[in-house]
C-alpha cells in the first residue's frame, strides 16, 4: 500500500548500485542508502515572536535558536537552516498532520509552512569512513568535536547543494538532504567516491 501510494523515490533506480558499493554491516567502511519518503515541511517564522514559541510547544521542542542546530523529539527533527528558517522532518506520511500542527500554532501570525517532502530526498552515509568519504567533496570540518550529533549545515557536496545532518558521531551517521533532480548525480558521485583509499 505504502509503496503504491508513494510511487518511486528519486533513488529507487540506484538502490542496487548503492548497496553494491556499500561495505557490509560491521565492516570498516561506509554504507550509502536512500532514506525515501520522509515528511519534510519548510517553516519560516519570526524566532522572537509568540508564534515561534507556540510552534515549539506544539512540536514538543523549542525551535533551535541558531542555524546549524537541530532539535529532536520522538516524532520530528527540526533543522535550523537560517535565522528564521527551519526544516521539520517527520516519518513517512506525516506531512499533512505536521503542516496542520504548524499552521494551527502559527494561528494567523506571519509565517510560511510549505510541504517540501518530495522536493528533497535523503541519502544516508554511515560507517567509520563516512567522514573521509564526505570530505572528498565537502569542505566543512566534520570532526566530531566540531560537527557533532544533531548539527546540520547547508553546504555543497561535490557540486550539489545539500543539507548535511550529523545523526551520530560514533560510528558516523550522516543524512544528506538533496534536491530530487540532483539525487542521481549525487548518488553516482558517491558511488564513484567509494573507490578511494582514505
Amino acid at each position: 500500500m505504502t509503496a503504491d501510494l508513494y510511487g518511486a523515490s528519486p533513488l529507487a533506480a540506484r538502490a542496487d548500485a548503492l548497496a553494491r558499493h556499500s561495505a557490509p554491516e560491521g565492516v570498516q567502511g561506509v554504507r550509502i542508502a536512500e532514506v525515501p519518503f520522509t515528511a519534510q515541511v519548510a517553516l519560516r517564522v519570526d524566532p522572537r515572536g509568540g508564534a515561534a514559541e507556540r510552534i515549539g510547544t506544539a512540536l514538543g521542542a523549542a525551535l533551535p535558536g541558531r542555524p546549524g542546530q537541530v532539535a529532536r523529539t520522538d516524532r520530528v527533527l527540526v533543522l535550523g537552516l537560517g535565522p528564521d528558517e527551519w526544516l521539520v522532518v517527520g516519518s513517512e506520511g506525516t506531512a499533512p498532520e505536521l503542516q496542520d500542527t504548524l499552521t494551527a500554532a502559527l494561528d494567523g501570525a506571519h509565517g510560511a509552512v510549505v510541504d517540501v517532502s518530495a522536493h528533497r530526498t535523503i541519502v544516508r552515509v554511515s560507517g567509520p569512513k563516512a567522514r573521509d568519504l564526505l570530505n572528498t567533496g565537502c569542505a566543512l570540518d566534520l570532526h566530531p568535536r566540531v560537527f557533532g550529533a544533531d548539527q546540520c549545515a547547508q553546504t555543497l557536496l561535490a557540486r550539489a547543494a545539500v543539507i548535511l545532518l550529523c545523526r551520530e558521531t560514533d560510528p558516523a551517521d550522516f543524512w544528506v538532504f538533496v534536491r530530487a533532480s540532483y539525487a542521481r548525480y549525487l548518488a553516482d558521485w558517491l558511488i564513484d567516491a567509494t573507490e578511494f583509499d582514505g
Binding site: Y6, G7, A8, S9, P10, A13, P36, F37, A42, R44, H110, G111, A112, V114, D115, V116, S117, A118, H119, R120, D132, N135, T136, G137, C138, A139, L140, D141, H143, V146, A158, R159, A160, R179, A180, S181, Y182, R184, Y185, L186, D188, W189, D192, A193, E195, F196, D197, G198
Partner: protein, 947 residues
Amino acid sequence: MSGSFRLAEGGRIDRDRPVAFRFEGRDYQGCAGDTLASALLANGVHQVGTGIRHGRPRGIASAGAEEPSALVQIVKPFPEPMLTATTVELRDGLEAHGLPGQGRLAADPDPARYDAMHAHCDVLVVGAGPAGLSAALAAARAGARVVVADADTEFGGGLLGSGELLDHAPAADWVRRVTAELARGPDVRLLPRTTVFGHYDGNYLVALEDRGPDALTRQRTWHIRAREAVLATGAHERPLVFADNDRPGTMPAGAARTYLHRYGVVAGRRAVVFTTDDGAYPAALDLWGAGAEIAAVVDARPEAPPFWARRCAEARIPVLPGHAVVGTSGEEHVTAAHIAAFDPDSGTIGAADPQACDLLLVSGGWNPAVHLYSQAGGPVAFDGAAGAFLPAGSVPGVHPAGAASGLRTTAQCLSSGAVAGVQAASRLGLEAAAAPRPETDAHPVPKGRPLWRVPDPDTEAPGARQFVDLARDATVADIGRAVGAGLTSVEHIKRFTTVGTGHDQGKTSGTLSTGIIAELLGTDPSEVGTTTFRAPYTPVAFAALAGRERGDLYDPVRVTAMHDWHVGHGAPFENVGQWKRPWYYPRRGEDMEAAVLRECRAVRTGVGMQDVSTLGKIDVQGPDAAAFLDLVYTNMMSTLKVGRIRYGLMCTADGMVFDDGTVMRTGENRYLLTTTSGNAAHVLEHLEDWLQTEWTHLRVHLTSVTEQWATIALAGPRSREVLARVAAGIDLDNAEFPFMSWRNGAVAGRRARVCRISFSGELAFEVNVPWWHGRHVWEALYEAGGPFGITPYGTETMHVLRAEKGFPIVGQDTDGTVTPQDLGMGWAVSRKKADFIGRRSFSRPDTARTDRKQLVGLIPAAGEGVLPEGTQLVETRVLPEPPVPMLGHVTSSYRSAVLGTPFALALVRGGRDRIGQTVYGHVGDRLVPVEITDPVFYDKEGARRDG
C-alpha cells in the same frame, strides 16, 4: 660500470632491493629509496637533457624540488611530461628520457584516478625537517589537531642528507622517534609525499599528495584549512654564476652531500669546491671522508673560515681563499674548473689555471623558501649578511620556522620549530611547552658573503655563457640587455629575459637575478626586490586539479521523475542549464524534422503531452505577498483572484526583460510562481535580493518548491477528453474550469493541482503532482490518451508551437537588451502601478525610441528553407560596400506543419513599421528574401485555447 659511484654502505636506500629502470634507451639498476637522479648519479650519468634555447648539455643541479635543469619525460609506467629527475621516485620498470627544456603531453588518455580531500586542523606544519618536526611535536603534545605535510617520501628534511648526529646518534633515529610519536596522536595526520603548493587567505592551503601508481588514486589534492600554519619549508642552496657554469657535473655542495648521506652516492671522484659560504666545507669534508679526492676548496672570500680551514688542513684538502672559478671545460660532463685569483672588492681576476675534476660543487649561500609565507601576505626583506630575502614582519596565524626563516644550524632550526609550535598552540588557547632540544654537533654558525657573479674572462661576449636561470637558458648577458634597454623593475626584467618563468619558478635563479640586476643598476638588492611568489610552488597537473570532476561527473545532471521513461522511448536530450530535457521522440526511421512535424501536428489536431517539471517553482507567502509581486512583475498581480492564474513578466531595474512565467494565486496571502527552467535559481536570488535589501518592511517568505512538483503538460483539442478519463473528480468544463485558472483534485488517484495554461495556443492543462508520483501519473495519462493517439513531445515541438503563436522565449528571443515593449508585450506593463522593478527605465528616451529592435515574424520567400538562427538581416537585395547596415537578426526559426512553410521570429530595427516589407537574410553567400510579418502566425483570435 653499473652502480660504480655507489658506496658499499650508508644512505637510506635498500641495497637488497635492486630496482631496474631504463633511461635514454639504456638499462640501469638503482635501489629502492633512490630518486631517478640519485640512481643516475650512482651509475655515473650526469647529463640528463639539453638547454631549452642553446641546446647545451644539462645535468643534475640539485637534490630536490628546486631543480632547474634535470627535466625528464616519463614513458612508463604512465606517460608524464616534464618532471624533475630529482623528485621522481625510482620504481621497477620506470622508463624515462631527458628533455630539451620542455616536454610534451602524451597522446593517450590518462587512465589514472585523481581525487580531492578537504581537511581541517588547528596547526598545519609544512615541512618535516628539524624545525617542522619540533613544531609538530610541541603542538601535538599540547593537544592540537595537527597535520604535517612534507614533499619527500619520508620525514626528516635536511637531516636525512647531512649525516649529522642528534643526541649522539644518527639524526634519523630522532626523526623516527618523533614521527612515531606523532603517528600515535589521535588527531594527527601525517602526509608524506605531499607538497603544499599554495597558501591563500585565512590559512587555506592547498597541497598535492603523490600516492603512487599502486594507490586507487594516483594523486590527491588536499584542501587544508588551518587555524595556525607553521612554515618550515627549508631553504635552497644558491648556485654561483661564472662562465660555463651549466656543465653537467656542476651542482650545489649541499646537493652532493645529500646524495652522499641519503643515497650512498659519491657524485664524482675528483671534486673542485667553489664557495662563498661556510656551508660548502662540511660537504667537501664528507665527500673526502667517503673517498673522493677534493682538488681544492676555492673560496671567493679573502679569508677562509678558520674552523673549517683547520679541518681541511687535517684532511690535506687545499683551500684557496681569494680565488674563484671563472670558467670550466668539458662538454657532456665537466672535466676541469678554471681557477683564478679573485678580489671580490675590486672585481679583478687573475690568470686562470685549469684544475681537472669530474665534479664541481658550488655554494653561494642559501635562499629560504619563503614562497608560502609570501603568498600568505607575509613581507620579505633583503638581508645583506645572508644575501637572501627573509621573512619580515608578521602574519597572524602564520609562523615561519627553521631554515625558511633564515636560520642555518640544526640547533637553531630545532629551537625555532619548537617555539613556532608552542606559539601556534598558545594562540589557540592550548597549554604548550617545548620538549628538550636534542643535542647537536658543535659547529660554528655558518657565514657567507654574497657573490652574484664572477667576472667573465671572455671579453668578446661577456656574460653570454654565465647562466643565471638554467631552466630558461637566461644569462648575465640577457639581463644586461634588459637593463641596457632601460628596464629597471625586476618584474619587467623577468618578462624581458624570462628569468624565473620556467617550471621551477626561479627557485635557484630568483635572488641571483635580483643581485645581478642591482649590480648592473648600481643599487642595492633591497631596492630591486623580488618578483611575486605565485602558486603553485611546484608544477601541478590539470588532471589533479580536476580530480573526479570529469566525464559524467564533470557537472551535475538534473533529471525529472519521468527521465527513465523518456530514455526508454528513445528521446535524445537537450541541455537546459543542468537539466536534461527530452528534445523529441523519434519513431523508427524518423529524423528530427519528421518527428517534430508529427509531434506538432498531433498537438494541433489531437493531443500531446510534455514533461515540464523543470520549470522553476517558488511559493510566496505573507500578508504583503500581493504588494511584493506587484513590485517584481511589470503587470498587476494583486488583483488576481484566488483560483486564477496570470502570465507575468519580470524586468531588471534597467527595464529589460529578465524572466517570465505564470503566477497562480493559491490563497489570500499565497501565490505560486513559475520561472523558466534555466533561470529558476537566478529568479529566486533576484527576489530575495530585493526583499532582503530594499523592501525589508514587506512581510513575505519565499520557498523554492521546484522539485516538490512533477508537472505534465497535456495539450491539444482532445486533451480534455484524455484528462477526464483519469480525473473524474474535477469538473473540466470551460465554464467551471476556465482558461487561466487552477483546481485541486485527484489525477490517476494521486492528489494533484491542475492548471489551465497553454504555451501552444491549444486547449491545454498542466497537471502537478508530488515529484515521486510523476512517473505514475505520466504513464496513466499516456495510457488514457492511447485511444486519442496521445503523442509525447519534446522541447523542439514546444518551441515550434509557441513560436507559431509568437510567444517569445526569454534568453532565446531576448538577450538582456529587449524591453517588454520591444516584444510587443506593452499590454503586460502596468500603467496603473506606482512602481515596479524597471518602471523608471521605461521613461528613458532610449527605451522610447521608435527604431528599437522589435520582435516580428518572418516568412522566407517561397522555396526557401529554414533560416539559420542568428541570420543577419539587411535592407537591400545586393550587399552594399561595408560597413553594411544591419537591421537585426533571426532569433528563432523552424518549419511549421500547420503553416506549411518555414517561419521565424526576429528582432528587427523598427520592425513593427516594416510589417509587409521584404528584407534579406544573409545565408552563406546568398541573400534570401524574407517577408516581415506579425509575430503571431496562428490563431490570432485565440479561438483554440478553449477547445
